[in-house]
Subunit: 353 residues, 2 copies
């Protein structure tokens, strides 16, 4: 599905089921509003699924991987090869996301959007490589405008392929890409006009001097490219990343297919932000999982206006926060469906007497 | 087990397993500390269970119920009868805690510590009634000093009975008692010396005028009884509640039996605070589940020094927050046990080549 087609396909969730859900939550035998964020989320999920008995039985987390030319500037502690190694690890099942997805009852699917490595064709991943790593954004654009659109469309196509082959009740998005907190912070600075020093974080563990350097690199990239904050594809092309485009496409694709989608931390939220700038209607399908300790994350959450469920000081990525949030969202569906209303309690008691 | 005996029985968790856990977490193939609070909690659970492969297979939430004479002052929106009705609901399985416990794979056990109702002997609850409701703390002490000790010992005995009959890998504590945010706030004011107006919250949904009245009631009770902040049993007896004593006993009992225990929101945390004032060693076994929106809760958490896992704007009680936190703690055990170390990845790769 082409990008503009997918955007057009997004329809609002069912307002009637949202209202029915709100009514049922209010009528349950407990103080009004006492289950806080579980209630808001349950109501939203009911509107999306068009039922008060939502079952998130088939959950899939897609972890999008890509490499970044900007690592040449020394913005990450880990070597670029780790991106490809981690993709193998996701397939092998022993990485952090595999462990947390298993706990949440979710399947993990890795995706190559732009890793600087040739994966074997037989490897069980989404093969969606746009190019082998982006350009070094301090010297050149990350990618062309066409590539940016292709990356987003690759994300959309993954949702279509998943939904064609199996039932998908909820999608999670996660990232893997050595160096990718740098483009994420650059994109956020472009959108918000905020100073990169307030948005850049320590990524996998930079010290003070390295953080100052990372901020310098982001400032140089923004000064060089002058990305247009009113043109999300321009921002993605000039200072983004292939996996970030893919992550945006996952949110748009899920929204177009009517599937609720929960994004992980900094990078996945950057992708979700691109998605919602391109397609504001996608916000109705989007859930945010956690407050990352990465500095810029809070600002993205505020811009999206969707409150995260967790605050566990995570800064791993891969979709780990999304996996944990899926468990809470799953619990929220049970709250709506299973807690008895005062009326149900009354009828039940009358029958037993 | 008598209170002083139980306190003496609490031994520190295994420091060696805590260190082994910390080492394994650091050696896992991911950035140091990137799983935030999951890591701290996994390490603590390893020390308690004396293994790196902790399984929280058998989880039990004990919901302690009691009534409060202070409801005569109009501090709650709900009539006192609701306490007993909710106990029947817990047994029947359709209350909020049943739904969330089921989702977390935990069993719910209701306990009568002081409900103003005669339950049938056959009813499947812990029958630990100290008295039928406390005294109205604005006019008289909540209970005698002997009753306060009995309430705590009732909590200890429930853990003993549970642990004798089945394996218990983790205990959760929850409360039910119309009017019980008033004694909880009073206890906290007594311990902290803080002004009740900063500690009292809206409970099940008081309006502004009712909140002002509730604060007045708490101030009157404190002025009348002058509870001694250095004597937790005095505080419990003068301005506490039977179920709050039971909740304290659950924490002490679990600690004495070497079982990790996670407390719910305001009331259960008040119980946990009493427990840790009586037996500071119990802190090593205690986990806090969530930041309640009730005003005084944050101060108790700070006093305990144990960071809650969740912040979902819950204010229900019953153990609902504890149930949700159990899912996160369960995930933490999987993080420690299952995410591969760099060395394990290397060995595995060498074998596959």
């Amino acid at each position: 599905m082409e990008l503009h087609e997918a955007i057009k396909k997004i329809t609002p969730p069912d307002a009637e089921f949202e209202q029915k859900a709100a009514r049922r939550l209010d009528e349950q035998a407990r103080p009004d509003g006492s289950l806080g964020m579980l209630e808001d989320n349950a109501r939203r999920l009911a509107g999306i699924a068009k039922t008060l008995d939502v079952h998130l039985a088939h959950k899939v987390i897609v972890t999008c991987a890509g490499d970044h030319g900007v690592v040449a500037e020394g913005v990450s502690l880990f070597p670029q090869e780790v991106t490809a190694q981690m993709v193998y690890s996701f397939v092998d099942g022993g990485a952090s996301i595999n462990v947390l997805a298993r706990h949440a009852g979710a399947e993990v699917r890795a995706a190559d959007l732009g890793v600087s490595h040739d994966f074997e064709k037989e490897l069980q991943i989404f093969h969606k490589k746009i190019d082998k790593g982006t350009g070094n954004i301090r010297r050149e654009p990350a990618m062309t405008r066409d590539q940016a659109v292709l990356a987003v469309e690759a994300g959309i196509s993954m949702v279509e392929e998943l939904a064609a082959g199996q039932r998908v009740d909820m999608l999670g998005t996660g990232d893997m890409g050595i160096g990718n907190t740098t483009p994420s912070a650059a994109m956020l600075a472009a959108f918000s006009g905020m100073d990169p020093s307030k948005l850049a974080g320590r990524g996998t563990g930079l010290d003070d001097a390295a953080l100052v350097h990372k901020i310098r690199v982001i400032k140089d990239a923004l000064a060089l490219h002058q990305p247009d904050p009113n043109d999300p594809v321009d921002v993605l092309a000039k200072v983004g990343g292939f996996e970030i485009g893919g992550l945006a496409g996952l949110v748009i694709g899920a929204s177009a297919c009517g599937i609720p989608v929960v994004c992980d931390g900094l990078i996945a939220t950057a992708g979700a932000l691109i998605a919602c700038e391109l397609a504001p209607a996608a916000k109705s399908y989007l859930f945010t999982s956690h407050n990352s300790v990465e500095a810029g994350h809070r600002f993205m959450i505020d811009r999206l206006g969707i409150a995260p469920l967790l605050d566990l000081k995570l800064r791993l990525g891969e979709g780990t926060g999304a996996a944990l949030a899926m468990e809470i969202l799953d619990a929220a569906t049970r709250v709506l469906a299973e807690i008895r209303t005062f009326e149900e309690v009354r009828i039940r008691n009358a029958r037993q007497e």
